[in-house]
Structures are given as C-alpha cells and as structure tokens.
Symmetry: C2
Subunit: 82 residues, 2 copies
Amino acid sequence: MVVRGDVRQEVGARIRELRKSLDISQEELADLADLHRNYIGSIERGEREAGLNTMARLAGALGLSLADFFAPFRHPVKPRRG
Amino acid sequence: MVVRGDVRQEVGARIRELRKSLDISQEELADLADLHRNYIGSIERGEREAGLNTMARLAGALGLSLADFFAPFRHPVKPRRG
C-alpha cells in the first residue's frame, strides 16, 4: 500500500489553533519564531510544507516541544508494504 | 532569545534506531516509504532536513504515527522572546 496523504493541512490547522489560543497574530508568531509572516500564513493554509527545523521553531514559539505539537497526530500512516 | 539548534541529528538518530530495531536495511526502509535509499542515508546522518510529508512517510514505514515518532522530543525550544 502506497503511503498517501498530505499532513500540510493538518499541521497548518494545528498551528493556527495554537496561535489563536495564545491570542497572537501571524506577525507576532513570525517574530517569535524568527520567520517571515507570509511564510507563517502559507504554512497555516497548508500551502507549504515546513521542514523539521522550522517546525521546531514554530512549536517553540507556541510554547511546545515537538512531542507536544505532534501529540494529536496519532493516526497510523500505512506503509507501502506490510 | 533566538531559537537555535538543529533537530536533524536527533531525527536522523531516531530513524536509524527505529530502523535497526526492525532489523531492516536503509534500502528496505526506502522501499517501504517510497523514498530513495540515498535520501534515507542522508537523513539518518543528519545531513538533510526532511519535510513533514517525508517524515510522515518514514514514520509510517517504521510503523509509527507522527505522535509516536516525536514522543521523545520533549525538550522545550526557547522562543525568541517571552
């Protein structure tokens, strides 16, 4: 079974939800994570796929470890073969 | 405080450890994840930074969700401010 799917939408939604729970703007999050605000926007919309270091910075700016950030991502991803 | 650090080494070591615990080669993992074997090697050595979809495929090929894969990554990443 081929691995399918795209986690960008789910990751973007998680970032947006966490950001709003902190009541900060994309610009403020960008400043905290030392990333460009437009980049945050495109990640939140699921348009871009963040790399791992960007994810670590975003999680950190949101006050979370990577473990905490990905804690809800519990669905199994099917490998290509058994 | 500026966000520092690079998670590539830690991620690469985690993939290698999981792969060896399953007793599969880089080639077998590459086949399961539908990635090139050389790419797996460079990620395991911390030379490359995987994107999130690649991580999801690798985790899936190793039999884990992203939550499981990142569960040990519990250290906080300091945000730039606050």
